[in-house]
Symmetry: C2
Subunit: 249 residues, 2 copies
């Protein structure tokens, strides 16, 4: 489990060679792995007719931690296609309307997101700025919520990691690979609290019978954190950052 | 009635000395003029208890053509305060939740809007990118919709105005003050079509018993367009623009 405090996302134009829009293939692959399981859950478990009976014939979906696209567009369209397939049986007199919410931190580049929306989209789109660790929607409101490759971000950096008098001082590192147990525990405690807050908020926002889809990185039981590819990468980053910091002091 | 095709709004940071955020006092004054009438309409005509009975205790408001603030925040908060006042009588067992949508063209600076949202807001905020001349919300969805000082923008520039073979050619002008009748008619026809589209879309999106508030510039009957302050201003602009264009050709 990677666990780093999320910094405000910088504005990155679709056309920029360094943009997330062009460099999110890893996240796309992760979402694709879960695609079959998600389709099966919608097909077998989501009672669309029941949901529509109390929502004025509208299905409301949200992508939490959506960034700027294009993955958010393709994965949400895939959810809509699966729901529409279910609505083609004679039980349904008309196709429902779809309302789709794109959520991320207020500092996310919503301008890029909104100007990249598919031209022929089959839904009413909205952006919702705010942390998914708290409430961002009214009660009993959403039908299908996905959170793809985003729930590993922490709501904030635990203070102990930056306090050089604490046994959990992380000594300039930005990841817990090869870190002492105290550091690991502080990261784990923060993530557990954040995940609890996330679930409590969704429990209020999602209607009874709704669906919550979480796709996130994980590691096999027993694998040491020092072997994490992400950990090796971030430890390398932190060396580079420390070198850069030394040059300007 | 001013009537110009709306160009994409350029990004304008809150801190910039030329930003709309700092230069929208005229629009604020216009909205304030209508404040008493709006409060009276909500107090006397809006059946909040009836609206809540079919909306899961949530009141949904939208500001169409909201730009980047701060006027949109103050005017929407004022609507919410008036509705909350109505809910303090014993008829209401609990205060409703509020959902507020900020709408403007996809090219609007939603990044500035979202990062300027009031910290202590009492509502769930969302941004909706899209032209208010078409559908942007599901059917029977919104309870109170305002459109302050925005409905004078046209959906697009009628082709005849730019066609030098047409009697309605507007000869490099960007406003209809002092223009021939043919030009006036083309502007008027486009605005009538746009207003019709606006009303048809809202008729589907607003619930029965909902409220539509439109604040817009107008002129007294019989006043010649040549005396319009806006017209004089825009004719001056067009001279400046033509001079600039001549220098680069």
């Amino acid at each position: 489990m990677a666990a780093l405090a999320k910094e405000p996302v910088v504005k990155n134009d679709v056309e920029s060679t360094t943009s997330y829009f062009k460099h999110s293939i890893y996240q796309k692959l992760a979402a694709n792995v879960a695609k079959d399981a998600v389709e099966e859950a919608i097909t077998k478990k989501l009672d669309v007719k029941f949901l529509l009976s109390t929502s004025n014939n509208t299905i409301r979906l949200a992508d939490l931690g959506c960034a700027v696209g294009p993955n958010t567009f393709t994965s949400l369209q895939s959810l809509i296609d699966t729901i529409k397939n279910k609505c083609q049986c004679p039980d349904f007199s008309s196709m429902p309307e779809f309302q789709v919410y794109f959520n991320d931190q207020p500092s996310n580049d919503f301008n890029t997101l909104f100007t990249s929306l598919p031209v022929q989209k089959e839904y009413y789109a909205g952006g919702v700025p705010g942390s998914f660790h708290g409430r961002i929607f009214p009660s009993n409101y959403l039908h299908v919520v996905q959170c793809n490759y985003a729930l590993h971000w922490l709501s904030n950096l635990p203070e102990e990691l930056e306090d050089n008098n604490s046994p959990a001082w992380s000594k300039g590192k930005i990841h817990y690979a090869n870190a002492p147990d105290e550091v690991l525990k502080v990261y784990a405690r923060q993530w557990a609290k954040d995940f609890n807050d996330f679930l409590n908020a969704r429990a209020k926002e999602i209607v009874p019978g709704g669906l919550l889809i979480v796709v996130m990185p994980s590691i096999p039981d027993g694998m040491p954190y020092s072997e994490l590819a992400n950990g090796i990468l971030y430890n390398c980053f932190s060396s580079v950052l420390l070198d850069m910091a030394k040059r300007v002091t």
